[in-house]
């Protein structure tokens, strides 16, 4: 298992963002669904070693991120796309991706090829030398994905990766996700259930900091049988699970 989470909690003052989450997953694309404020981003940030958990245990790629040396090792093998991508406006796309490749301590000899490959994979080859400040929202998202994948990570964490992408780009991104899923553990936090249906082999639905459902997209779809809220079968499953959790 690349991700093993047991009884994970995270508090922000009086707010319990994540409340006793247990999660285990290996290679493949794992979808993290849930309404706003469900705790998806907090869980993802803990997995990305941005914030430490308040309690519980977390093992990523067989390493304990609470230990400095393990955390450093883990970070070399990690790719993370935050919900709000930060970037230096004066950098070009290539420079931005190269910057992260260097921060991730990639062997310098491999950096130029890896950067070029990452930029091509997200379809920004023709914008490689464009300044970040000149990119559209969708292009920025793709640049963010490029920086996340440049080190060919073993654990990839995407927070709302398809936000701002047009339908064509979303289709391409799902293909990319499936491709990554064959080699690494990819965890995607999203509102868009169709992304999950198309790309994820496993899915968890969070509600009020807890995992309300964990299974395959087909199992989630099955939960929606007889439920009338939602246009697509997966959406009906999503709504049914949430309704049950709220009840």
């Amino acid at each position: 298992m690349n991700v093993e989470i047991t009884g994970l909690t995270r508090r922000f003052g009086r707010t319990q963002a994540v409340n006793g989450v247990d999660l285990r997953t290996g290679q493949g694309v794992f979808g993290l669904l849930g309404p706003n404020g469900a705790g998806k981003t907090s869980l993802l940030r803990m997995m990305a070693t941005v914030i430490p958990p308040s309690s519980g245990s977390l093992s990523l790629l067989g390493r304990n991120p609470a230990e400095h040396r393990s955390r450093q090792e883990l970070r070399r093998r990690l790719g993370y796309l935050p919900q709000n991508l930060g970037y230096y406006p004066g950098f070009t796309v290539v420079e931005f991706v190269e910057y992260f490749a260097l921060l991730k301590e990639m062997p310098p000899g491999r950096v130029p090829a890896a950067v070029a490959a990452a930029v091509e994979r997200v379809g920004l080859g023709d914008k490689a030398k464009a300044k970040m400040r000149t990119l559209s929202g969708g292009m920025l998202r793709r640049a963010g994905i490029a920086q996340a994948i440049v080190n060919e990570p073993e654990l990839l964490l995407f927070d709302e990766p398809t936000a701002g992408l047009d339908p064509e780009q979303r289709v391409e991104f799902r293909t990319l996700l499936r491709e990554f899923g064959r080699r690494a553990t990819v965890i995607v936090s999203t509102h868009l259930v169709e992304d999950v249906g198309a790309a994820c082999s496993e899915v968890a639905l969070m509600h009020e900091g807890k995992i309300a459902f964990q299974g395959t997209p087909d199992e989630l779809t099955a939960r929606g049988v007889g439920h009338d809220s939602g246009d697509a079968p997966l959406e009906r499953g999503y709504s049914a699970v949430l309704a049950a959790a709220r009840a």
């Binding site: 450093q72 970037y87 190269e98 301590e105 073993e154």
Partner: protein
Amino acid sequence: MSTMTLQVRPPSVLRLSAGRLFRLEFRRSPMLWMVPLAAAVFWLDTYRGSMALPPFWGSRTLYLRQGMAFMDFAPFVVGAAAWAGGRDFRNGIAEQIAITPLPRWAGRLTAWLAATCWALAAFLGCVGTIYGITARQGATGTPTWWPVLVGAVGLAACTAVGIAAGVLIPSRFTAPMAAIVATLVLRQTLRSGGTFTLLSPMASPLWSLAAPKADAGFFFPYLPDLPLTQIVFLGGLTFAALGLLGLQPVCGGRGIRRAAAALTALGLAASLTAVGLVSGARGTDNGVVIPAIHNAASDRPSVFTPVCGNAAIPVCLHPGYKAYLPNITAAFDPLLREIAGLPGAPVRVTQVALRGRFPDLRTARVSGEPPVLEVAFNIGYEAIMWSGPDLPEPPCCSSTALWTSPARIADEVLPLVAATVIDGVIGHQTAAQQAVSAALLTAAGISQSSMSTFPDAESSPSGVAKPDAAAYAAGRGLAALSATARRAWLTAHLAALRAGTMSARQLP
């Protein structure tokens, strides 16, 4: 699956990564945008001011020694560095960077290095222009490098402090505030002139211990005491600020933060040492002496062979000033001709080093046997540098205009030394001596009105009194004689005149 399994990275890999990271930071450093602005201010301020002065290392580096070039750059450098320091916060990228394995301290140090390289490249380029042009114009002697070194270390400190401000006070207003604060602090050190403000690269106002001298480096070596202390202080400040950049948890593991804390402590210790050193500073004619690091060898005069002009009495200057020898000789010659060869007349006029914090030509004196007239010429400073308490009125014009015109030297400079020159031959005690002095001055073209800049007997350092109106009236007849007749009369009556046994009525 990824093949990256590096546990310990070899140094060559780290060097390569650092090189690539530096290249990125260098290319995108905000300092790049500040360089043209700083260069423009430098051109308006330091460059034009320096190039208006004669091509001597002493004068052309005057503005540098006063820290003006540093001041032109510092606010821009601090502001741009603070902008660079606050960029992670401003661009919302801190979280993404925080989870990368490279210690953030390394990234910040790279950003500092890139910004510093730009600042130094611009500063050294601008200063190098002044040095290059001065060298091409034939300035003799050795250029003074200490002010350049102090300025460079000062700018490195500014960059470090700026980045630290940007990192520790992340706000959009940090950069402009840092620039404003830097300007105010530096201006204050310039105004203050106190002992501890000597640590600032801008601490050389006329009234401070580090008052600049026109002939610095000519007669005595340039004293390195103060620049060395300033470098220790500014270098310490740099280390302390750079150490601060690595103290946050995000900057790396415990080892890295310990190293950062050690660097901060080392920097603070160095700066405090410099504060201790400067507390014992004392001003001397040759510059600021810091006793703890002073090398007595620096007090020994420089060895040089003076260049002398062909006049009735040779005028000899430091070879660095040889371009001015014909003008000074021409201006002095009419007066020197009047007394040349007479008993007590100087056999030579020799330029000596400027003495005191307010260089003053009135310190000219005749000494030795055979007598030599020693004069300190304040060549190379603008008129404003002459002004100070108890000094004569500023001269007519800029230093360049003054010292390149024999007529102006005769009008402005000669009267300040004329009475002293004659005094050794004639004396100034009796009415007859004063009348003869007045006659010789008049014959040399020095009117009573132009002698107004010569001090009264009470305030004259040499005790020599300038002739009064009565003396000029009494000496009118002698002055009206031909040069040959006047010389003949003087030769015949000099002994009586010097003995004080002659009355003014006995003059022609």
